[in-house]
């Protein structure tokens, strides 16, 4: 292990926190969809990727960031709803394996459409000085973004918790996640509620995508695969179905990954394996995750 100064440690920690915040934003989408449909939305990582392209083209065509960002978020939310309607709605009562296969199909479709339309070569994400300029504190130089990301995440998290716990829409979402049939009998429009859930989850992924692009300014059609898998893992670590769990899981994964590379540089090549090892460990030790509820089958 290498010796590390306090400054270096702080630098890694802030990096870890901002990466963790991004993971958290994407993980929320997985956890919401899982909570309501008991389904891994394999396409979520690809929806996140599409958001970065929306922003890329928005800025390319001369849009100002404060116009492009909201449009990106809306388009991404619509895309998420479209995926739900086309790939999952017909399969509500189908065996789980069919839904999962459809999800994988949707994911591959988006990725390859993106390759066809945008080309397979990476593109440079626009830099926006307000976010990307560097500030110096003591001996550390940090992008403004590193501070902005966690703040945005916390604000979005609190708004989401408010939405879910205090509004009528939120109540409908909670009802549908417990039991579709009963919710329908109580007069809730189940399909609409599921659509809204996908919309919100995808909107959060869009915010994550925009900030991801600013932080790692190179985008390509397969960029959503790894973050997608990792954020699903974050959701599982936190306890799938639990929103605060997804955020905790995101931070654990983000900080863990950065620290692993910082402390044990010889393992850098194994960085992507770290998340999966963590996943397998947590599934075996505490399959319900940190904040999850136990669901057992009735016999």
């Amino acid at each position: 292990m290498i010796k590390m100064t306090l400054d270096m440690f702080l630098q890694h920690l802030t990096n870890g926190i901002s990466l963790g915040s991004l993971y958290a934003l994407i993980a929320i989408g997985y956890t919401m969809v899982y909570g309501i449909l008991r389904l891994i939305n394999f396409a979520h990582g690809d929806i996140f990727m599409m958001a970065t392209y929306f922003t890329f083209f928005g800025v390319l065509f001369g849009g100002k960031w404060y116009i492009v960002f909201p449009i990106t978020i809306i388009l991404t939310a619509l895309l998420g709803m479209l995926v739900e309607i086309s790939a999952y709605r017909n399969l509500r009562d189908a065996p789980k394996i069919s839904i999962l296969i459809s999800a994988i199909g949707a994911s591959f479709l988006i990725e390859n459409l993106a390759i066809v339309i945008f080309g397979g070569r990476p593109k440079a994400f626009p830099t926006i000085p307000l976010f990307t300029s560097v500030v110096h504190i003591r001996n550390i130089s940090i992008q403004r973004l590193t501070f902005i990301i966690p703040v945005v995440t916390v604000i979005l998290l609190l708004s989401l918790l408010f939405l879910i716990n205090k509004t009528k829409t939120g109540m409908a979402m909670r009802a549908v996640s417990k039991d579709h049939e009963t919710a329908r009998l109580m007069g809730i429009n189940v399909d609409r509620t599921i659509s809204i859930t996908f919309g919100i989850g995808s909107a959060l992924a869009a915010v994550g995508g925009i900030m991801w692009g600013l932080k790692f300014p190179q985008i390509q059609p397969l960029m959503g695969v790894m973050p997608g898998l990792k954020c699903f893992i974050a959701a599982v670590i936190g306890g799938i179905g639990s929103i605060s769990g997804a955020v905790i899981g995101g931070f654990i994964l983000g900080i863990g990954e950065i620290m692993l590379v910082a402390l044990l540089p010889s393992l850098t090549g194994y960085r992507d394996a770290f998340a999966f090892i963590l996943l397998i460990a947590i599934l075996l030790l505490k399959p319900t995750g940190i904040m999850g509820e136990k669901i057992s089958e009735k016999v």
């Binding site: 891994i40 394996i97 296969i101 090549g269 998340a275 397998i280 599934l283």
Partner: protein, 351 residues
């Protein structure tokens, strides 16, 4: 089996052997390669169908299994000279540098080691169910790939291996494909196969009937891994080049497409579908070439083909969930019925 069926099966086998003999001598290298791929995908599809279709375990780790088989077979069959050329960054680890095995033992060891890996992965992962199992197996496949990318002195890391001897020919690939089909038929129709199906249908009922879920799941997983490893070994020695990027999730996706299209839980469906999908992959290659629409040229990217296959997969799952065969199997009775049925139908049509 009836006497008639024995004869029919024997005749078909002779016809197949004749066809392979003809293809081996007369067809061009490209066609032979496609036929080889068809047979290899049959093996891979069957091995995945054993795990996913017959035992009901949703596993997405196939690319990982294949990579183990492919690497083991390739490293064991590479000539000493080729090894020196391949490993120019760092030399290959000592005991491996002089080992050169014949194809068949290398392939067998590849399969056996893959089975061992399958067992080691299965032991923890098969405690999980449904989509958790899917993600965990996907994760293990990724871990295997990351390991292979980083073990420079054994696998040559990201550079991959080149100049693997082209031992795979139609005799090997079709021979092993037939061996796999026969093994699957014998397995599925044995008491163990019935236990696998019981687990697929209802785990709680199966366990209440005295079936040790864990033991049987690991058994199915290990056998499936063995054949995936064999398939991987054949593939490596067909293509001549392997690298870790080859064994990404896309490869698993292709095999998944085969079993979904053919019918999850049907040996016949998998065999038909392996040929259809492999040939379609080649036939649709033109889609990846540049398309000139007059005002805009869509550049030739390896994407259009996969768009078609993704849509195909979704359409099958959404509207035709049971695939070509559902859980039905080929039998001579049915086959002859279909053939003889056709005549009256045609006559009726002429009225």
């Amino acid at each position: 089996m009836k006497k008639r069926d024995y004869y029919l099966t024997a005749i078909s086998l002779i016809l197949l052997i004749g066809f392979i003999f003809y293809a081996d001598n007369n067809m061009d290298a490209y066609m032979v390669r496609i036929l080889n791929l068809c047979a290899i995908y049959t093996i891979l599809g069957l091995s995945m169908n054993l795990i996913n279709g017959f035992t009901g375990l949703f596993s997405l780790g196939h690319a990982g299994f294949m990579s183990v088989g492919a690497y083991v077979t390739a490293i064991l069959t590479l000539s000493v000279n080729a090894k020196v050329q391949n490993f120019f960054l760092k030399p290959i680890a000592a005991p491996l540098s002089n080992v050169v095995w014949p194809f068949f033992p290398a392939l067998l060891l590849g399969g056996a080691l893959t089975a061992l890996v399958g067992f080691l992965i299965g032991a923890p992962a098969l405690r999980l169910k449904g989509d958790y199992l899917a993600i965990a197996t996907l994760g293990f496949a990724e871990i295997i790939r990351v390991i292979f990318t980083n073990t420079q002195t054994i696998t040559n890391g990201a550079l991959g291996l080149k100049g693997i001897p082209a031992y795979t020919n139609l005799w090997w690939s079709f021979g092993i494909a037939i061996f796999t089909i026969v093994t699957m038929i014998l397995l599925i129709n044995s008491s163990y196969g019935r236990a696998f199906k019981a687990i697929r249908e209802d785990e709680i009922a199966a366990e209440s009937m005295g079936i040790d879920l864990f033991k049987h799941k690991v058994l199915s997983f290990t056998i499936g891994a063995f054949f995936a490893g064999i398939g991987g070994g054949l593939l490596g020695n067909l293509l001549g080049t392997i690298d870790p990027l080859m064994f990404r999730f896309t490869l698993t996706f292709n095999i998944l497409l085969i079993i979904v299209l053919g019918g999850i839980g049907s040996i016949t469906g998998t065999v038909i579908s392996a040929f259809v999908v492999t040939i379609a992959q080649e036939a649709l290659r033109f889609l990846d070439q540049s398309i000139n629409l007059g005002f805009v040229v869509i550049p030739g990217v390896a994407g259009m083909r996969m768009v078609v296959f993704s849509i195909l997969l979704m359409l099958v799952v959404l509207f035709y969930r049971h695939g070509l065969m559902g859980t039905n199997e080929f039998s001579w009775d049915k086959f002859l019925n279909v053939i003889s049925m056709k005549k009256p139908l045609l006559k009726g049509g002429r009225k």
